[in-house]
Amino acid sequence: MSASPRVPLLSLRQISKRFGAVEALVGVDVDVHAHEVVALVGDNGAGKSTLAKVISGVLVPDSGIIEIDGEEQTIPSPSAAHALGIATVFQDLALAGNLDVTSNIFLGRELTDGMLLDDGKMEQMARQILRDLTLRIPSVRTPLAELSAGQRQAVAIARTLIGSPRIVVLDEPTAALSVAQTAEVLTYIERLRDLGLGVILISHNMNDVRAVSDKIVVLRHGRNNGSFDAATASYESILAAITGATTLSESLMRHTAAMR
């Protein structure tokens, strides 16, 4: 299935990014197809969040090619990413505590009626989205600062559904959540896949990753260190790639090539 020749929704080729002397990303390749959840895993500082920021337009890579539907694109800003159909949930929740739930969901992409904000419409849509995701929020007019960590994560995830994106990037979406909330988020990720979106899931939690992802891409020291089919790969082999017990050997290279 993953060997089909269809054009990937998102294709990253040889992405490199450095901060001063630190090489955050070195020649990273990732493909995401529609109807696919790709998990990005790796140890702390492996470059996962940097890659998420490159995809979402927060950081511009020093070199490398980003293709969307086979066409080369640059993503110079978050709003450009949004225009290309990329929605992101950041690890450090990109939410404003002083604004209410509706304002946060629509932040940066407010609906307007002429010159003025269309608050009524936004509130209605926000409620619809929260209902669709069966997210439990006391009221869409509650300021974010008054919500729990789990509820804030729910709002952050609800944000991604605005403007019908095609690619959703989730950076550690379950890090601060309870077991029940994590299960809800994973259900939501599956729902995104069923809708035909490409999903990039960044996580530390191997249980989460194996529960929902189709493909697992391992980063180590900012480099690709293996790519696995989630259905067949063993837990040990993934862990070995994360910790560096195995490096990107010839066999893995072939494996990676076969995955494309």
């Binding site: 927060v58 800003s77 978050p78 002083n98 604004l99 932040l107 407010e110 009524g120 008054e146």
Partner: protein
Amino acid sequence: MTAVAGFKDLFTRNLRQSGIFIAFVAIVGLFTILTDGTLLSPGNVTNIVLQYSYILILAIGMLIVIVGGHIDLSVGSVVALTGAVSAVLVIKNGQPWWVGVLAALAVGLVVGCWQGFWVAYVGIPAFIVTLAGMLLFRGMTYQVLDNVSLSPFPHEYQKIAGGFLNGFLGGQGIDVFTLVIAAVAVVGYVVSQFRQRAGRVKYQQVVESMPIFLTKLVLVAVVVMAFAYQLARSRGLPIVLIILGVLIMVYTVVTTKTVFGRHVYAIGGNLSAAQLSGVKVQKVNFWIFVNMGFLAAVAGAVYSSRSNSAQPGAGNMFELDAIAACFIGGASTTGGVGRVTGAVVGGLIMGVMSNGMQLMGVDQSVQQMVKGLVLLLAVAFDIYNKRRAGAAR
């Protein structure tokens, strides 16, 4: 499934916001008693409006600056500079009054662009940029005026801050025109409130219950009409009050109903979140300061008109009055919180206190001390409220 919020709910939820109005009523009541009613006499009500109009205009701009997480220390100097430019054109060169006003506004916009550029695009903290601006524009004022005061302005120019609209419809000792305008404003307010309520019901948003809603409308109507009645018994409708009223309405809409306003709150609330969400932070910051420059120029025109002169030292300490008005009016020191109406009421609290103490003949030094303590207590109250909200979570 229209939810109806009860009075207690509304009150506790908006304690910070309702608190400011209650404090204002209490202070007005206190000084009315202390001055044996002189505070609310027709002449004095008019006087308060004229005397503090320019601080209120500055407070509106300052509120947006503070909500965005910045501060502007230069507005006093900008008031002086814009007034000086206007005075040179009108008094020295004999240009008509509107040339002076337009020139002042243009200077204000240029000043705003200058400060906005350094804050937004170079990334220097606004505190530093505007501290530099305070010195820079004060120095420029001395240059423009050649170290001397210019006065007097021609009659038309004085009308900006000292003029009244009255007598169009006659009336025996009470200006009917003023009352008609106030009545029109009240009707407009009531209609807009009803339309807003209907819209909220349509979208199934929370609304106040009908009795509370009506009580609120009646209270506002009574206060506005009583205020207008006092003005009408004095000299009629001050032109500067019309300017102020328009600015308050426009900026209430700008802060609560436009994308720009929403983004200002987002930047003040969580800068990185705003950036990650695609808010064009630099552009918004730039316009915050352009807007402040514009309003400082309006205040400059009003102040020069009121003082009927342009002095090198004009507007000294105005920035602190405007900043104090915002904080007393509920703006948060960390940004992201505050309302235009709050800042205006905060400014009025300062105005009524100063005016009341002046009427009582309280010494200038004591006045300063009282104002300082009120500012301190207002911010302490804000912090206390936040802690309590944090603990309740």
